[in-house]
């Protein structure tokens, strides 16, 4: 068995209804696993950027890229080099804060992780944190003893470092 790794694929697609279906359907049909996916408008209007994290060996990833390239609504597909990218994920975390001690502990942890408190109630705090997936995992792990009520994560988004860009050629 060839070695499986996580790979991040950045794609520029037509920003129109059905594109997400077409892309996710391709993954389902060919048995590729999406670990996570994030979608949003790209720098040019009418286009969207999909950042897809997929697990597999090199041959699988090569097929993913080639098959994505075949989709008419997919304009550009790039495999990002893990050594030269910035990846970020945003997460909202609602955690129990039932007494003053818990509240101040959580706020201390938040400062260390550069998370922010975005909502407060008498029983809970909502934190916002941005960073790599590992950092968010670690933060959530730390909050667990207090009782994590809800977590919403955006999934990973990424760009390559430096001036080089994944853009559409005219």
């Amino acid at each position: 068995m060839a070695q499986e790794h996580n790979h991040i694929i950045s794609t520029i697609v037509e920003n129109k209804p059905g594109v997400l279906y077409t892309v996710s359907n391709l993954f389902r049909r060919r048995g590729f696993n999406i670990d996570n996916i994030s979608v949003g408008p790209a720098e040019e209007s009418g286009l969207a950027r999909m950042t897809i994290m997929v697990r597999g060996d090199d041959r699988t990833i090569e097929q993913v890229v080639k098959q994505l390239n075949k989709l008419i609504d997919v304009i550009k597909v790039t495999r990002l080099d893990p050594e030269h990218i910035v990846t970020r994920e945003l997460s909202l975390i609602k955690v129990n804060a039932l007494n003053t001690k818990a509240r101040s502990d959580i706020i201390n942890y938040a400062e260390i992780f550069r998370a922010r408190v975005v909502d407060v109630s008498s029983e809970s705090l909502m934190m916002e944190i941005t960073g790599t997936s590992e950092k968010i995992d670690a933060f959530i792990c730390l909050l667990k003893p207090f009782g994590v009520r809800e977590v919403a994560r955006t999934g990973i988004t990424a760009l390559s470092r430096g001036a080089k860009s994944v853009k559409v050629d005219e």
């Binding site: 697609v13 037509e14 059905g18 279906y21 077409t22 359907n25 391709l26 049909r29 041959r59 090569e62 097929q63 080639k66 098959q67 390239n69 075949k70 989709l71 008419i72 609504d73 997919v74 304009i75 550009k76 559409v168």
Partner: protein, 567 residues
């Protein structure tokens, strides 16, 4: 710019694409289109089932090399096309499907699709995995561009089916129409020209090769590369094996022709390819039915793989020289560079070896016991038919016998469902082929099981005066499955005996076609000659032994080296 209805714009756009025929069945959601289409000069051929319409469009496309068009109404009409679309997808055939859809907007402009109206089906969702491209128009003025895009995408690069879903209200709305002639699609730019360095590498490898073989697939036919293929083969004195989809791209009466490789390939093709040191593979996807188990497929040979679809390269086999480009353009370049550096070979140990093997296996070929066997019949059929005749097949034993024993000489004269293996494809496809090539005789080689899946298209063939000849190799069985049960399931028959069969001759006659049953090879010849002369739709029912097997065969899960000649 001109003002017209969506239906009118559709027919105008189709005429600009040089569409002359549409195979289809009308329905509620197509009424506005048919109202205009009937005066447009485009011929609408009524199929008896939408699956037949899709297969006919496919047969038309394969015989002509142009897009074939089918049309069906919303809901069940559209879903009945699905098998035909999937079939075209797996065989890379440019079929355009037009489907009616329920109204997109109500009179008060609220969006209506998705409310499960009468005869509403999400055909876009359903066909996304089996089309190269599909789209639903939301307003009348989108129709001309949708047609241009769909035809462009379906017929260029690696061809494939495409679908336009047309809500009924967009057909009647009158809007300003703009008919684009050229369109830029940012996400779609097939690569035609090969990379010069890759061509050089291929040439170098071919010059060094001691035992070269050419493996020609369906892409050779799609890109009309047969003349270039012949030139290179003769220059290199390289044997040419075809995949099932490549059959007809190389004249099979040529000394260098090896026939098909694969599960039911010829013994010589399956042997020779394993002895080759360099394989020039053209427009093939190395599918399991062609290669057998991949570990045993030419492990030491170096492969040059030409394909217009980058995703096919490296998908199943490792390749020494990948070339993503059009086959015809690439072969021309390879030939140009070879011709300066090679003297036409008269002979070589490899050529002698290939000839020796071919002669040996030909002399051992088994045509079966008795007078009227499928192999003997197909040999006789070839003798009777002119070279330009088109043969379609159904799926199963009939298909594999045809591949083995019916020689083809010209590209696009062998039409068969290779990828999906759709029983019932051959008959409607032969109707489509006949529409594309009215001056060529068209014969469907059928089995009794397959024919019954689309036999109602006899109505189309007779009513529309599209005469084709159906030869039913009738063993009252689902013969190929029965063969597997004989070989691999201890002869235990399950769900393969069809029991009471119709009298196919009478069935044909009841539709107004000719029908006859023959009992000997001589009677078959006479019936065939009569059918060719009469030019009316004819069904020739040929009883064959239910015990007859197709051999040679590579057992499932085995490699080409394990080809068995017979029992």
């Amino acid at each position: 710019m001109a003002r017209m209805s969506g239906a009118k714009a559709l027919t105008e756009a189709l005429k600009r694409e040089k569409v002359e025929n549409i195979f289809g069945i009308i329905g509620g959601a197509l009424l506005p289109i048919h109202d205009v289409l009937s005066d447009s000069g485009i011929r609408h051929i009524i199929a008896r089932h939408e699956q037949g319409a899709a297969h006919a469009a496919d047969g038309y496309a394969r015989a002509s090399g142009r897009a074939g068009v089918c049309m069906a109404t919303s809901g069940p009409g559209a879903t009945n096309l699905v098998t035909g679309i999937a079939n075209a997808y797996l065989d890379s055939s440019p079929v355009i499907a037009l489907t009616g859809q329920v109204n997109a907007y109500s009179a008060t402009s609220s969006y209506m699709i998705g409310r499960d109206a009468f005869q509403e089906a999400d055909i876009i969702g359903i066909t996304t995995p089996i089309t190269k491209y599909n789209c639903q128009v939301k307003s009348a003025s989108e129709i001309p561009k949708a047609v241009r895009m769909t035809f462009h995408i379906a017929t260029t690069g690696r061809p494939g089916p495409a679908l336009i879903d047309i809500p009924k209200d967009t057909q009647t709305k009158i809007e300003e129409m703009d008919f684009p002639s050229n369109i830029q699609i940012r996400g779609y730019k097939p690569n035609i020209e090969p990379h010069p360095i890759q061509v050089k590498k291929a040439v170098k490898l071919l010059l060094k090769a001691e035992r070269p073989i050419i493996l020609a697939g369906g892409g050779t036919i799609t890109s009309n590369a047969s003349p270039e293929l012949l030139q290179i083969a003769e220059l290199l004195m390289a044997p040419v094996a075809t995949t099932f989809m490549g059959k007809s791209c190389f004249p099979e009466n040529h000394p260098l022709s090896m026939g098909n490789i694969g599960m039911h390939g010829t013994r010589v093709a399956n042997k020779v390819i394993l002895e080759a040191d360099v394989i020039l593979a053209i427009g093939t996807r190395f599918q399991d039915r062609s290669t057998g188990t991949l570990d045993d497929f030419c492990p030491d040979a170096k492969i040059i793989h030409i394909d217009i679809d980058a995703a096919e390269i490296g998908k199943n086999v490792d390749v020494e020289v990948p070339i993503v480009a059009d086959a015809k353009v690439t072969l021309k370049l390879i030939h140009q560079q070879l011709v300066h550096r090679i003297k036409k070979k008269e002979g070589s140990p490899w050529v002698d070896r290939v000839k020796e093997l071919k002669d040996k296996f030909l002399s051992e070929m088994d045509f079966g016991e008795g007078d009227l066997t499928s192999p003997k019949l197909l040999k006789e059929l070839r003798r009777i038919l002119p070279k330009n005749a088109i043969v379609a097949t159904e799926v199963g034993q009939n298909q594999m016998w045809a591949a083995l024993h019916f020689q083809t000489y010209k590209p696009r004269t062998f039409i068969s469902s290779g990828g999906l293996g759709t029983m019932g494809f051959g008959f409607p496809a032969s109707i489509g082929a006949k529409v594309a090539c009215p001056s060529c005789p068209v014969v469907d080689i059928a089995g009794d099981g397959s024919f019954r899946m689309t036999e109602q298209e006899l109505g189309t063939s007779v009513t529309e005066d599209i005469p084709v000849i159906v030869v039913i190799l009738n063993n009252s069985m689902l013969g190929m499955v029965a063969q597997w049960q004989r070989l691999f399931y201890n002869r235990k028959y399950a769900a393969v005996e069809l029991g009471s069969l119709p009298d196919f001759a009478k069935l044909a006659q009841s539709y107004g076609a000719e029908g006859t049953r023959v009992g000997s090879l001589k009677e078959f010849s006479a019936a065939m000659k009569k059918a060719l002369k009469n030019e009316v739709t004819t069904v020739i029912d040929v009883p064959i032994s239910p015990e007859a097997d197709v051999f040679p065969m590579v057992p499932p899960g085995k490699g080409l080296k394990d080809t068995i000649a017979g029992m």
